[in-house]
Amino acid sequence: MTLRVELIDGSIYLSPASLIEANRRLKFQILGSRFGGEKIDGCTKILLSKQWENQSDCLLALRELFEKHKLAYDFDDSANPTVQEYLSEREDYEQRVHLAQNVWSGTIESEEFIEFVSVIEANFSRRLYRLQLLAGFHMAWSLHACNFSVPGAGKSSIVLASYSYHKSASNGVLKSSPLLIIVGPLSSFASWDNEWEGCFGSPGNLKRISGVSKSERDEFFENVLVRGVSALPEAILMHYQTMMTELERLKSLCLVSDVMLVIDEAHYIKNTDDGMWAQAALDLAPFAKSRVLLTGTPAPNGYRDLYNLFKFLWPKENIIKYHPGQLEEMSRFQFDERRQDVQEAISRWYVRISKKHILPQEDYPIREYREIVPLSSAHEEIYLKIKNWERKVCTRQMMQTIAHRSLSQK
């Protein structure tokens, strides 16, 4: 027998109730406080009386529950579109997980990669080396990705390669002219201008909306929100603070065009304790069609730093299965077996090009030369003072330790 789920006048009904009643766990959950199920129509149907903030969440929770209990179910025409929408998102996610994994593990040497390379070669003035191409392909195909490469690895070029591919690909996921929104520190803006020119061979139409007057910013938003795609620049540069203050207008902008949202120096959004920039990024994330994070130091303080990054990347997916407190705990204990879990879960979503990738030792062997340079008088004075001070402190600590130990032995 199949359990039927109906959505009538905004309320969810399950029938026949006997199917739920036959399973003790299911009955407890459906009739419990989470769903607030009540038996109606002579106990043949169950009405879910609990009001969920978002009805689709309720339908999806039901689906998850029925799957868990291996119960045959059928969402009727009224409930089905919500579930189907989720399922197609889910399918997209699964596909991208698969792709991202294969691309970076190098098992794809596919027609898609060859096409990607040809698009980049046709549009780019700068020549990218293989790892950069692979990283760009990973970013373009996984749609949402992080690049944790070291400075100098060409993170910006990789983003622009991915953007260029989206812009030119005949059957890409994004519209043919996606809007690139780059959020970063003010000091990074000039570098993005230069990178653009370096990659595409001519200056781009990059609009800065931070460091400008409010009236200029207002005019920009009014213009693009009224005139639409034709008024859009190729890219918008802004500071994290602007993202926070202009959050609502940015959300509207995401409705005008497909947006590729890049958070540069993404460690600025890692704060899980009411970080306001972080919250703004997380709020904006679901509106962007493609999300990219760039930082060379993704987790300077431990696993907790990763929480927001992957929440931003896939807002609806629970990529990191742990909450911030647990992540902090596993950072303290190096043998924590959950570390493996986290590393595995995130590995497919990021690329890291390290120095050894940029300058392979076999091609550029390191040669070490040493030259003794005497200290200047001022340096020497400071050095000796610190050294003497350290010695005093250390000696005192040692004496205290020894005294303490001999006392406790007695």
Partner: protein
């Protein structure tokens, strides 16, 4: 209450209104609807008054009775409340009875204009009892009369009742379950902050009470004892623990090693309910302290803390306890030889039977799960110690002892090195084995 049942409710109210037209015996100021008002005190025949069913504990007692016997008359209703109020704290009632006998009613109660006793239900019951003991046909109650009838101003009257209950030293304080019931009743009319103010508590405390009440109601519903709060005597602790653990996990501040879904937490609650039912209904059950340490707890030693341990424990539990329904209390009451036995006693007997049947299965699964938790924790112990040793060596290195002459330092460092090598060799052997 010796309510005059020869009168209909309307006639009783009319008669009361006539009584209230008589000259009051005094006045008293009290805070009502946000301001101090001076209200009349009347000495009224208790036959014209009724107990307040808005009071959570009285109301739920009546509901239980209605569940067993169907609708009951006003007279039975009042007799039931009278008996319930006496039984709910007999020792204290006996003491107050003596006081009332010696000194009479010193403080007036509070009633609504339609004769519902808002404050002084217990004293009214005792005055009735005194009159009955003395074979007197009439009993009188001194009461401040509110200007409103109960139905028209439930919210204000509930507020007044609460503030009176909290403010008076002489009153019987809320019992463990009663305070939760009270909060739940209040929450239909007031915000959490308002309830907190009235009960002289902090808002999070009220949120906690409401959360615990929800768990209690859920538990009673699950075991087919909805509204039978008397089944919960001395079981409060485990519900508090359960609430605290669930709350911590909701906030993400708990000590779980994994991140359970809402459905996992529902499974957990159901298992906990089974263990609560077993623990309090079997003479050789698990010690509640052990349940607090190993199941209903936010601890790394808890069965729920370790995903795989929990899954095995849960699956075995639901395999053992997949029975769908027990005979309902009403059905058992009908089958009972003694037709006067209360639902409460029937429920108790049914719980005992259930616990007896569950005993061996629960003991087996419980022992296994605890062993699995211990194994997991022990397995992590060497790694933890190794980490501590490494941290300590790091500290020593940061202090830079090199080159300093410390008595026995070199010998000790050598011993540490040899032990570290031994550990390493053991580990290598273990890996190659």
């Amino acid at each position: 209450m010796q309510t005059d049942i020869s009168l209909s409710a309307e006639a009783r109210k009319d008669k009361l209104l006539k009584e209230l037209e008589k000259k009051p015996i005094g006045t008293k100021e009290l805070r009502y609807k946000g301001q101090m008002v001076s209200l009349d005190i009347h000495r009224l025949d208790l036959k014209l008054l009724v107990f307040n069913e808005l009071n959570g504990r009285i109301g739920s007692h009546i509901q239980t009775h209605v569940r067993q016997y169907g609708q009951i008359s006003e007279e039975v209703r009042q007799v039931l409340i009278q008996r319930f109020l006496w039984d709910s704290n007999e020792a204290r009632n006996k003491k107050t009875l003596k006081n009332l006998e010696a000194k009479g009613q010193l403080e007036p109660g509070i009633i609504t204009r339609d004769g519902v006793i808002i404050d002084g239900n217990r004293r009214a019951m005792l005055l009735n009892k005194l009159a009955s003991n003395a074979n007197e046909s009439e009993a009188y109650f001194k009461a401040i009369v509110l200007p409103d009838v109960l139905e028209s101003n439930k919210k204000e009257i509930l507020r007044l009742e609460t503030e009176y209950q909290i403010g008076a030293d002489e009153k019987v304080q809320y019992g463990p379950i009663e305070k939760y019931l009270k909060c739940r009743d209040m929450s239909a009319y007031f915000t959490t902050a308002e309830i907190a103010e009235m009960m002289a508590l902090k808002t999070p405390e009220i949120e906690k009470y409401l959360g615990i009440m929800e768990l209690i109601d859920d538990y009673l519903k699950t075991i087919g004892c909805e509204g039978l709060y008397t089944r919960l005597e001395k079981t409060e602790d485990l519900f508090i623990n359960l609430y605290n653990a669930l709350r911590m996990w909701e906030k993400g501040t708990g000590k779980l090693k994994w991140n359970p879904s809402a459905s996992d937490k529902d499974d957990y609650r159901l298992v906990c309910f089974d263990y609560i039912r077993y623990t309090y209904n079997h003479k050789n059950s698990i010690n509640p302290k052990d349940i607090r340490e190993s199941l209903i707890c936010n601890s790394q030693n808890g069965i729920f803390s370790h995903e795989r341990v929990w899954e095995n424990f849960r699956d075995q539990h639901f395999e053992d306890f997949d029975e769908q329904s027990e005979e309902s209390l009403e059905m058992l009451a009908k089958e009972s030889v003694d037709q006067n036995v209360g639902l409460d006693k029937i429920a108790k007997r049914r719980d005992f039977d259930w616990a007896e049947k569950a005993h061996s299965r629960i003991q087996k699964n419980w022992g296994k799960a605890r062993e699995n938790v211990a194994n997991r924790i022990n397995a992590q112990e060497p790694a933890k110690l190794l980490q501590q040793v490494e941290d300590k060596l790091e500290t020593l290195l940061e202090l830079d002892y090199s080159g300093k002459v410390l008595p026995g330092f070199l010998e000790q460092a050598n011993r540490i090195r040899k032990k570290a090598e031994e550990l390493r060799n053991n580990a290598r052997e273990g890996m190659s084995a």
